[in-house]
């Protein structure tokens, strides 16, 4: 009989979406039916999201086995085969896990996927709240700020501002009432680091907030979470009430004179509310419009009181920094970018998921060594960093190292950590159009250039993707980009042109192909492609005929089919349906 220590099931939103809840329930039932008393720990995201639902088996001898792509049937087999009979089921194991982990350094995510996020005792067992004890018992607020400065921690919300310095500003601002706000709006599409951390280890963020509040002298805190994250909101609520019960939040925290309360504010679906001044307006119950800084929130923030705003991951770094000491933390990373960064890998990457890597690692290592490269047998084309404020980095720049300054030099940005990988089937002009349509919709409308300028850029990009572009359009895009950057008030407008500028500088030939030759090399832009049936390959199975929503594919059994170009809406459903690769896509004819 093997000695099982515990079983872990990843129950983050992504796991649940893949069916982890059913796997968890089945596991519990199977164990109960057999009278086996093995602890089953529901955890947050384990990281290997591409293989969800995941189950980790931990034996008393320290060995671990990670099962992936489970379903009800497979989990039953694992119970019988491995837990009862004692032989691991190799065909369901996730082999890459350990080499996937070897290149990573888990500081912020140390507990995610390891502990039960709904249990404060689990967090405490993992050294939780020891940093807070250390701070309140042995450190003055200015010493805490000094420790943060020594650590070199910079904001993980995008701009990379030194956290210790920011805390110093709020601490020295005059005012009796001060606020600390945690920015969990995570609006960049393609980013899910903050969600994972909040779902997987909410207490770490809360502990970071309490330490920050102590350092700057705040007595009230807000966590602004986007409404699309119901599970994160739920787990935060549980964590806050547990921390209150244990005296980590509230009055006389750990027996001191320090008190601090935390409220959760649910966002209402506006990307611009991730910007700090807009976020505060939203908490106050107003339209979420950014305002001119100065005054900075440190002087005049929420209800005009000095306010410190930090990102979720920034705050998650605080307890480990206090525990290990700023000096030790600063040994990780590069000269100007210390510590680790969490990235959300998605798109056309083989092993999508959450990774945490030391600063200074190259993008190539993240994408190929950890992420396993491109799905299928396609070719890498670009990686998008920083969402709508960021840019697309081409293959030849993949050796750039992950740090704030090197990434900014490429025209992209570190951003919050979303990394969307694109392959040869992604059209870069379409990607630029996609981001512009995003920022155009999300612009709050206050600044003319951001409101109208992005609209003009979008119109041009739409024209190009429809094959109606002119070469002058490229110059006009560049000119508009410069003007939008310099005449927008907040980061949304100032960075909105970045996706266009980076694709223009690294993939200019794709723009030119669209404009001059009316070709879309990625075979994506509908106006420039055609679907046709290759009569040599077509077996006449009629699957495509049935799949077509507009009866454009015609033909009878056993005879090659044809596509009526007049009727075809280029939805690609026939292409998906064909089992013989008989449908071809052509461009530029």
């Amino acid at each position: 009989m093997i000695q099982v220590q515990e079983l872990l099931v990843g129950l983050g939103s992504c796991g649940i979406a893949a069916g982890a809840r059913q796997v968890y329930d089945t596991l519990i039932r199977e164990l109960k039916d057999r009278g086996m008393k093995i602890p089953v720990i529901p955890t947050g995201c384990i990281g290997a999201c591409h293989r969800e639902p995941l189950l980790e088996v931990r034996l008393k001898d320290g060995s671990r086995f990670l099962y992936g792509d489970l379903d009800i049937g497979k989990v039953k087999e694992v119970v019988t085969g491995h837990l009862v009979e004692g032989s691991p089921l190799n065909e369901y194991l996730v082999p890459e896990k350990y080499d996937y982990l070897a290149r990573q350094k888990k500081i912020v995510l140390a507990n995610s996927g390891v502990i039960n996020p709904e249990s404060i005792d689990d967090y405490i067992k993992a050294e939780g709240y020891t940093a807070l004890r250390k701070v309140i018992g042995t450190m003055r607020p200015d010493e805490v700020i000094e420790e943060l400065k020594i650590s070199g921690l910079r904001g993980r919300g995008g701009a990379g501002f030194p956290t210790g310095l920011k805390w110093g500003f709020t601490s020295s601002a005059s005012g009796v009432k001060k606020y600390l706000v945690c920015n969990a709006d995570e609006g960049d599409p393609g980013a899910f680091m903050d969600r994972s951390l909040l779902e997987g280890d909410p207490h770490a963020v809360i502990e970071g907030m309490v330490i920050g509040a102590y350092a700057i002298g705040a007595d009230e805190g807000y966590i602004y979470v986007r409404a699309e994250y119901p599970l994160a909101i739920k787990r935060l609520g549980i964590a806050i009430s547990q921390a209150e019960e244990r005296g980590f939040i509230g009055e006389h925290i750990l027996g001191s004179d320090f008190f601090f309360n935390i409220h959760i504010k649910e966002g209402a679906g506006a990307f611009v509310c991730g910007e700090e001044t807009a976020l505060m307006a939203s908490i106050e119950g107003k339209r979420g419009m950014p305002r001119i800084r100065p005054p900075f929130p440190a002087e005049s923030g929420l209800w005009a009181a000095p306010t410190n705003i930090n990102n979720v991951e920034t705050l998650g770094n605080v307890p480990p920094i206090i525990r290990m000491g700023g000096g030790e933390y600063a040994r990780i990373g590069t000269e100007k970018s210390k510590g680790t960064k969490v990235f959300a890998l998605a798109g056309k990457i083989k092993r999508g998921g959450m990774v945490e890597v030391p600063m200074g690692i190259s993008l190539r290592e993240v994408i190929f060594d950890i992420g396993g490269g491109i799905k299928g047998d396609k070719k890498f084309k670009a990686v998008q960093l920083g969402g709508p404020s960021g840019g697309c980095i081409p293959e030849r720049l993949l050796d750039v190292q992950v740090d704030y300054d090197s990434l900014t030099a490429t025209g992209a940005i570190m951003g919050s950590g979303g990394m969307v990988v694109m392959d040869e089937s992604t059209c870069m002009v379409d990607i630029a159009r996609y981001f512009l349509s995003f920022t155009q919709t999300e612009s709050c409308g206050k600044c003319t250039f951001c409101r109208v300028g992005t609209k003009r850029m979008l119109e041009i990009l739409e024209r190009i993707t429809q094959g109606q572009g002119r070469m002058e359009d490229i110059d006009e895009l560049q000119e508009l980009a410069v003007n939008i950057k310099i005449s927008s008030l907040c980061g949304l407008g100032q960075t909105a042109p970045n996706p266009v500028l980076t694709t223009l500088s690294y993939f200019r030939e794709e723009y030119e192909e669209h404009i001059k030759n009316k070709r879309c090399p990625a075979l994506h832009c509908k106006a420039l492609i055609r679907y046709r049936v290759n009569p040599e390959v077509c077996t006449g199975c009629t699957l495509c005929v049935k799949a077509c929503p507009v009866q454009a594919v015609q033909g009878v059994r056993k005879k090659p089919h044809i596509i009526d170009q007049e009727l075809c809406i280029k939805c690609g459903l026939c292409f998906e349906a064909c089992r013989f690769s008989a449908i071809e896509i052509t461009t530029g004819e």
Binding site: S13, C14, I16, A17, A18, C49, H50, E52, E186, G187, D188, P189, G190, A191, F192, R195, A227, E228, Y229, P230, K265, E266, G267, A268, G269, A270, F271, S282, I283, E284, G285, K286, R287, G288, M289, W303, A344, L345, A346, G347, K348, G352, G353, Q384, G387, G418, V420, M422, T426, I431, Y434, F435, F438, C444, P549, I569, C571, G572, L573, E576
Partner: protein, 149 residues
């Protein structure tokens, strides 16, 4: 209505209560009826115009009733590059509606959203509170048919 009034009372006098109140109102009615917004305005002592101004700023708020099942199709970056558009086509075929529309029988309302935070399972769709990942047009149609039955 009594329950709605209790809800209003709960938030009365609290700072920054406008958005939470509107959110609760929407949870209660499924959308923001004009009458309810006027009540909210009265409770927070602001003009109805101001409340309407706040409500229209945020994408979350609706001013018309929605269908019984809310379908949110993710059009975040990862979903976009993984074929979110073809899910829209499939939905159009299956339900005959596009984003922002409700089916005639009041069963489904379709919405476009940007990133549900499950990017590694792209393309994804949220039906009610449940996220469905790794979808194809076909799989999505099957899921909908299950709901219809």
């Amino acid at each position: 209505m009594d329950r709605f009034n209790t809800l209003l009372k709960k938030w009365k006098g609290q700072r920054g209560n406008v958005i939470p109140l509107l959110q609760e109102t929407q949870r209660f009615f499924g959308y923001l009826p004009e009458q309810a917004m006027q009540e909210v305005a009265r409770v927070v002592e602001k003009s109805p115009a101001e409340i309407y101004g706040v409500a229209t700023f945020y994408a979350q708020f609706r001013f018309e009733p929605s269908g019984r099942h809310m379908i949110k199709v993710c059009h975040g970056t990862a979903c976009h590059v993984s074929g979110a558009d073809s899910l829209d086509t499939a939905l159009k075929m299956e339900l005959g509606i596009g984003p922002g529309e409700t089916t005639q029988d009041g069963m489904f309302t379709l919405e476009k959203v940007a990133c549900l935070g499950c990017c590694s399972l792209a393309p994804v769709v949220m039906i009610e509170q449940e996220v469905h990942g790794r979808l194809t047009g076909d799989k999505l149609k099957k899921t909908l048919r299950k709901i219809k039955d």
